[in-house]
């Protein structure tokens, strides 16, 4: 009797969660290095009545429950900024970042230099090179970041390059298991060890935009709203049916 309402409710709850995911994607449509989330749902079969004394077998009822959100780790579009400290990681790799809470990984290549000359993210966490944080000297100019992540500068009036380090690009065997940590960072979670990347390279003077696809998000949003409204209408009809049943059945002839 209540099944219809409960099934409808289970679907509406998952739809609410799905619109939350869409809202977060749209809110981050301009966040550099952001990776969109997608929702997955699965059927939850309620156990039927145990008793075999019924004439017919009890029909099993299936609810909806959300199983997962998974990350769309595809490459976002690159925007040219001509800023020497903007980089795009071309490929599956992440930049390693040192935070107070341990090592984190990011795709946001809008980098800065702090007062100590260290290469940092926009929130001030040092970006790690193969030999620890990368430090620039006061006289450095013309910073060049090569495709393999090697960072060279011209120091003072020197006409030759001085090496300042090499960006540590890491890959994961199971990148889906990375945990989104906020601040454009990923925590390692159960993604396995951070392995040095061999296939990815770096482009200087570009920044990776968010990989949120506006058209997909908008059509998903419409789909969610429509499905939600339909279920509301269905539940309403059922409520009406029940009310009229109660009214008719409880009618006592005078």
């Amino acid at each position: 009797m209540e099944n219809m309402q409960l099934i409808g409710l289970s679907r509406q709850m998952t739809l609410e969660r799905q619109i939350d995911v869409v809202a977060n994607n749209v809110a981050n449509a301009n966040t550099s290095g952001f990776k969109a989330d997608r929702s997955l749902f699965e059927e939850f079969l309620s156990p039927g009545a145990r008793d075999d004394n019924f004439g017919y077998r009890d029909r099993r009822v299936s609810y909806v429950q959300d199983r997962a959100t998974f990350k769309d780790l595809s490459q976002g579009p690159s925007e040219q900024t001509k800023n020497p400290l903007d980089i795009v990681v071309d490929g599956k790799a992440f930049l390693a970042v040192q935070t107070p809470g341990g090592e984190r990984y990011t795709r946001d290549g809008g980098l800065q230099i702090n007062a100590q000359g260290q290469l940092v993210t926009v929130t001030g966490n040092p970006v790690l090179g193969t030999g620890g944080p990368i430090v620039f000297q006061p006289g450095d100019r013309d910073i060049n970041i090569a495709a393999d992540g090697g960072i060279t500068v011209r120091e003072g009036v020197s006409r030759t390059d001085s090496v300042r380090g090499k960006l540590r690009l890491v890959e994961f065997a199971q990148p889906q298991k990375l945990l989104k940590d906020g601040n454009n960072l990923f925590a390692v979670g159960d993604a396995g060890a951070a392995l040095p990347s061999t296939t990815s390279n770096v482009k200087q003077g570009f920044i990776e935009k968010s990989n949120v696809n506006a058209v997909t998000e908008m059509s998903r949003m419409i789909e969610v709203t429509r499905a939600y409204t339909q279920i509301s209408a269905m539940l309403q009809t059922q409520g009406d049916q029940r009310r009229s049943a109660l009214e008719k059945l409880a009618e006592v002839p005078a």
Partner: protein, 262 residues
């Protein structure tokens, strides 16, 4: 419904983005202006079902979890300190910097300001000052009867005085460098002040030790590129609209819920 608040953070962020872009466009013709850009980051996530959690006694783990994000925040408006193009003015007190460094300006309160705007003037005492009348450091006074002012690439200021055929050197303009020039704080009037983030100011001679050289009778234009700004403006506006759409979608869902009960 969380979507309402998530989309609201998105609208707030895009509003700030438009503000930053409009300030860049407004300063398109400001000498020595350096463009800004709004940097965003995602907010914390609610790990509803943690990825990698145990799914059974047999040691199977969830390959993907449920992470619901809470929206976006603005983390900074970093400045792009790239070189602007130089334009010839023909005025002998206009100086542009080619490369690294800032002019050091003595402020009325005794502190120093730093600028890339080399539109200098002469005040009543003959000192080289900015358009606000604040003297350029170190103070250089041009004698009243002098002619033929020359500022060379190394910042040496020289004039010809009557009765002499060789130019007289009046002084040396210095350039100040910072390890993190993006960490300087803008105070308006094309000036910056040093902050703990910029590092300590390091004075030096132009064209030595990595400092830029000076170009007399030129000015540095703003490093704003109109095409980039306009396309960023379009992207920001569309993102704002999309967030507004999400709010109305969430509103519609809530409305259909409240309409269920009559």
């Amino acid at each position: 419904m969380r979507a309402l608040y998530t989309a609201a953070t998105g609208m707030a962020a895009q509003e700030l983005n438009v503000q930053v872009i409009s300030n860049n466009i407004a300063n398109l013709r400001t000498t020595g202006y350096k463009k800004q850009r709004a940097a965003f980051q995602d907010l914390i996530y609610d790990h509803v079902r943690r990825v990698g959690a145990q799914a059974s006694d047999q040691g199977t783990v969830l390959p993907v979890g449920i992470d619901i994000g809470g929206g976006v925040k603005t983390v900074g408006t970093p400045r792009l300190m790239s070189q602007g193009t130089l334009s010839q003015t023909g005025n002998d007190l206009d100086v542009a910097i080619r490369g690294e460094g800032f002019f050091k300006i003595q402020m009325p309160d005794g502190t120093f300001g730093y600028t890339r705007d080399g539109t200098f003037q002469r005040d009543a005492q003959g000192r080289i000052v900015t358009t606000q009348g604040n003297p350029v450091q170190p103070t250089i006074t041009i004698p009243q009867n002098a002619s033929g002012l020359a500022i060379n690439a190394q910042g040496q200021v020289s004039v010809t005085v009557p009765g002499s055929t060789t130019p007289t050197v009046l002084g040396q303009i210095t350039l100040t460098r910072f390890i993190n020039k993006a960490g300087l704080q803008p105070i308006g009037d094309n000036l910056f002040t040093d902050t703990p983030a910029s590092g300590t100011p390091q004075d030096g001679i132009p064209n030595t030790d990595g400092a830029g050289d000076l170009q007399q009778s030129s000015l540095e234009q703003a490093n704003v590129e109109v095409v980039t700004e306009i396309s960023d403006l379009i992207a920001a506006q569309r993102a704002y609209e999309m967030n507004a759409k999400v709010i109305s979608a969430a509103d519609q869902m809530l409305q259909s819920t409240s309409n269920m009960f009559r």
